[in-house]
Symmetry: C2
Subunit: 199 residues, 2 copies
């Protein structure tokens, strides 16, 4: 519908996740009218990310150094590893300030429909990290959905016989939520995981 | 939360219209994992748009030539001008295939709260185009909201005394919509603009 360059930009933006044709058009016109230095900054940020960001050689998190910030931090315990699917899960957990160990990013979850098996995830690297014997506990923090649960089960079956303490993040009602709006699976999990109050 | 380049990209993406912090993060990680040639294509599209796209010297639409595709088209009538707020409105009207005249893009609408007055819009350019005497009809196709209506009223007061046929796009019920879900203003407009059926 648009002339060459404008349509090319709309097409490229439309390929981004969560950006539909209408948003792509809106963003393209915003950029057309924007100050050239603003567009320059976006272009630089894109170029920089591809040029400089790599994955941590230890845990698989995003990093600008061979090792990521968490793996480099000497104040963090090497005895506990929290296993997550994606680098953004690391950020979500870091935000809670609850965890002072290290991470291991799998790069996804087992998903037979999408053709993702255990060999496509960074599970071998996890086993190498455990081989040193420093790690005593593994927290499985994969997503609380079918693929995440399958991945956690697969890992637990492998890790428990190795004598490690293996745990899974609790499922239950979201804090600040309404009981009546909880779906039955979440509510069922909340019952299952109920905690005794010692008053 | 992220290291340098990743956070920079998330920040830049978050400045785009309709992209919140979560979407910005999602897009950034998509681009991190994407093929470098895909990112290259996006970067090129951004650079090209800023380098090559300008605004049509006649109507203000986006264009890669001094004049846009519509203004260059000799098969289109010079007697009717359709006035719109933005280039994307041109595309929306072109999609209907109902209009065979030329356009005039104002670059916005009168909005006192945002500090946009008639002098900030391409109204002087419109008057120069009308001065030649070729144009006989002006269709005011600004948005059917407060700012668009104010702009249409302002232009109508100026153009009607010049002896031009001035019209405004019809307001009414959206085709395929449900009467009971129409807001009262739209329903009121639909009553006002009712058409007699001669069976």
């Amino acid at each position: 519908m648009y002339e060459g360059a404008v349509q090319d930009l709309i097409d490229e933006l439309g390929r981004l996740p969560g950006v539909g044709p209408k948003s792509a058009q809106r963003i393209a016109f915003h950029l057309l009218a924007a100050d050239p230095t603003d567009v320059r900054r976006l272009v630089d940020a894109l170029t920089e990310v591809k040029a400089r960001v790599r994955f941590c050689e230890v845990c698989g998190n995003v990093s600008q150094e061979p090792q990521c910030r968490v793996c480099r931090d000497p104040r963090r315990s090497d005895e506990v590893i929290c296993v997550v699917e994606e680098p953004k899960d690391v950020v979500a957990i870091e935000r809670t300030r609850e965890f002072r160990g290290k991470y291991h990013v799998l790069g996804g979850a087992i998903n037979p429909i999408a053709g993702v098996g255990p060999d496509d995830l960074r599970i071998k690297d996890l086993l190498s990290r455990l081989a040193s014997g420093v790690v005593t506990e593994v927290i499985l923090a994969t997503d609380p959905n079918v693929e995440g649960e399958a991945t956690a089960t697969y890992l637990a079956r492998m890790l428990v016989p190795m004598g490690l303490t293996v745990s899974r993040l609790a499922s239950g009602l979201p804090v600040g939520g309404d009981l009546e709006y909880a779906d039955e699976i979440t509510l069922g999990r909340a019952f299952e995981g109920r905690r005794r109050i010692n008053a």
